[in-house]
């Protein structure tokens, strides 16, 4: 008798554990990475390429399942079929869907997009998956041979152990720092009643932005973060004119830990920092803000400090009481913690994936990359940044009708003389 195939399974990594617990009726934290090609995509070749690629990614081609004490990832038996695009990116993925397959591949004309449930991987891991899938597709369609470099993996290889490790557990520091933080200003707006997600993408010249950031002795992330803080302070001045009642404006900036700790994992390995400005202290000029943000980031981003933050998260996971708590009670506790602290400590997220590099052989076929961070549980807006081929794409996704944040942000950047091309899915 033939033995039934044993499906591989693995634990959720440390950062992923919060996502299934914090989920809401129709909210699961997603993010989307997409690539636009020169020609329209052939869906049957893409399906073929996907079937081959998923075998190389045992930590991404998975679904979420429920254990008695923890959720776990289980390999999917076959790759999901390719979906067609809807009016907005990241249509809700209910938990029912996540239990079938926790990612989806969406093709629209010349654009290939992969939407990941955040418990599987972070932006950098997802980018490796997208590049490898693209490489396989281009190989099959055009017969180009693409070297396995710059984030493209060999599809014939067996998955490496270091790719599916939970790097958090290896890099926790000896001391765990406190997670206490001040509550930040929250953006407000009128929710779309049918759940429509509004996307606005601004396309800028990367060199112009780099030059501008250099003038302030800052990196691009620091410059954009400072510009965002400046914009949100302006919004808060309008909604809460009384300075005494204003709240700190803080930005959640995810930090990729792979380079800092020398990891090559394809699972979540990012932490966040929340640089910010307290407008109660007085009126800040943009120069003051960017200087402060530059120093705050420099102070926060170093291996020792981040290791102490990891230790705090890992410590909670290792506590015996939490371990033996049945899953449904654990969910209530974790959700309560998430609701109380999770998104209340920042006004908006700016996730910058940086410059995307692909093998030279692929470049003529790929015109554009995009990164969109999904709808958040409480925060009405999310901002994500990525650059490719001299262009920097800043995407804003929002659940509300008002485009106040984008408008304030882009109009502020306009004052520096930058040319901004905007596109949207405005109905």
């Amino acid at each position: 008798m033939e033995k039934e195939k044993q499906l591989a399974w693995m634990r959720l990594d440390n950062a992923a554990k919060i996502y299934p617990a914090a989920r809401r009726r129709s909210w699961n934290c997603l993010f989307r990475l997409s690539a636009s090609l020169t020609e329209d995509i052939d869906n049957s070749i893409m399906q073929n390429a996907l079937d081959i690629t998923v075998k190389r990614f045992p930590s991404i081609a998975v679904r979420i399942r429920r254990g008695a004490f923890w959720y776990y990832l289980e390999e999917v038996e076959k790759a999901p079929s390719i979906k067609s695009e809807a009016a907005y990116p990241m249509a809700r993925m209910s938990f029912k869907d996540v239990r079938k397959c926790a990612f989806r591949v969406v093709c629209h004309k010349n654009r290939l997009a992969v939407e990941f449930y955040h418990a599987l991987t972070d932006g950098n891991g997802g980018l490796v998956f997208l590049k490898t899938l693209l490489a396989e597709y281009l190989t099959q369609k055009y017969g180009v041979s693409i070297p396995n470099e710059k984030g493209v993996l060999d599809r014939n290889e067996k998955p490496k152990k270091y790719e599916i490790e939970d790097s958090f557990l290896k890099n926790d520091g000896p001391y765990s720092s406190s997670r206490r933080e001040a509550t930040a200003y929250r953006l407000k707006g009128t929710l779309e009643n049918d759940g429509y997600l509004n996307l606005v993408t601004g396309i800028l010249d990367v060199n112009a932005v780099l030059l501008l950031a250099k003038q302030y002795n800052a990196t691009v992330t620091e410059f954009l973060t400072a510009a965002m803080i400046y914009s949100i302070i302006n919004i808060q001045n309008r909604t809460t004119p009384n300075k005494k009642r204003q709240k700190p404006v803080k930005i959640l900036v995810p930090v990729n830990l792979r380079k800092i700790f020398g990891s090559q994992t394809l699972r979540n390995f990012a932490l966040y920092i929340t640089p910010g400005i307290n407008p109660r202290l007085g009126n800040y000029s943009f120069e003051e803000i960017i200087k402060s943000i530059h120093h705050q980031m420099g102070y926060e981003i170093n291996a020792k400090n981040l290791a102490s933050k990891i230790a705090a998260n890992v410590g909670a996971e290792r506590s015996l009481i939490l371990k033996i708590m049945p899953l449904f009670i654990k969910n209530i506790a974790m959700k309560a913690v998430f609701n109380l602290f999770g998104e209340r400590k920042s006004s908006i997220t700016i996730s910058n994936l940086g410059a995307v590099e692909i093998p030279d052989e692929m470049e003529p076929f790929v015109t554009r990359f995009d990164f969109i961070l999904g709808e958040q549980a409480l925060c009405t807006n999310a901002c994500s940044v990525l650059s490719y081929k001299g262009k920097i794409n800043i995407s804003f996704l929002r659940t509300v009708k008002e485009s106040e944040v984008e408008k304030e942000f882009f109009c502020f950047l306009r004052k520096f003389g930058l040319n901004i091309k905007v596109e949207s899915n405005k109905r």
Binding site: S403, C411, V422, E423, S424
Partner: protein, 232 residues
């Protein structure tokens, strides 16, 4: 094409500026044509809280005590006696709170009289069950009159968007008149006799307050002075 307000370049297919909503227009340039990057007509389904499901659960929560009381009553006394009052009370609460929630936009002008009608029916049941005779001469006119007043006030407040001072003054006067009616009904039904009519006191109070409100309603300068003095 550029937005003249925000100064940003609009990508192909952007009919209006996605930031400020302004429609770019130039007499010598054609409209910004081309396809957008998302097919805006395909809107995915979106799961929200199922109102009907919650209402069904609440209905069940009402049915459980009703079933238990009837069961207890019939097993203890062998007949349907005191549980009728409990069931009637619960049904009244249901009609007042839950029934309107079943509808998308419940109209108070319809549901207020329904509630008062339900109260009248419940009182009729009590009257018959206890064998007294106070329904026709007291309960029906008392509840009916109150129902008329409340329905009239709700209807006027809902459909007439102006003249809230008149409505407030009128309803206070109506309540004053209602107290007189109550005293009269008590007298003819139960024969309560007092040396002088007590309803005179609330009536005087209501007439003073209601009259003042009507005077304010009629005089524009007075209304403005009141608003200036008491704004919050």
């Amino acid at each position: 094409m550029y937005c003249i307000k925000c100064g940003v370049e609009l990508s192909q297919g952007e009919k209006v500026c996605p930031l400020c909503g302004l429609k770019p227009y130039h007499p010598e340039l054609s409209e910004n044509s081309g396809e957008k990057s998302y097919p805006t007509s395909r809107i995915p389904s979106y799961e929200t809280v199922n109102k009907q499901g919650i209402l069904f659960l609440i209905t069940m929560a009402f049915l459980v005590p009703i079933a238990i009381t009837i069961l207890c009553d019939t097993t203890i006394t062998g007949s349907f006696s005191w549980s009728g009052y409990v069931v009637g009370g619960l049904m009244l609460a249901y009609i007042l709170v839950v029934l309107p929630a079943w509808f998308k936009k419940p109209n108070p002008v319809i549901f207020v009289p329904i509630f008062f009608a339900a109260v009248v029916v419940f009182l009729l049941y009590i009257d018959i069950a206890t064998g007294d005779e106070w329904f026709l001469s007291f309960a029906f006119p008392a509840v009916g009159a109150l129902g008329l007043i409340v329905t009239a006030v709700t209807a006027v407040a809902k459909y007439v968007k102006k003249g809230y001072w008149y409505i407030a003054g009128g309803s206070v006067l109506a309540i004053g008149g209602y107290t007189c009616l109550i005293e009269f009904l008590l007298y003819i039904t139960f024969g309560f006799k007092t040396h002088f009519p007590w309803s005179f006191y609330p009536l005087v109070g209501c007439v003073i307050i209601g009259g003042t409100l009507l005077v304010i309603a009629m005089s524009k300068p007075l209304r403005r002075r009141v608003q200036k003095k008491f704004f919050i």
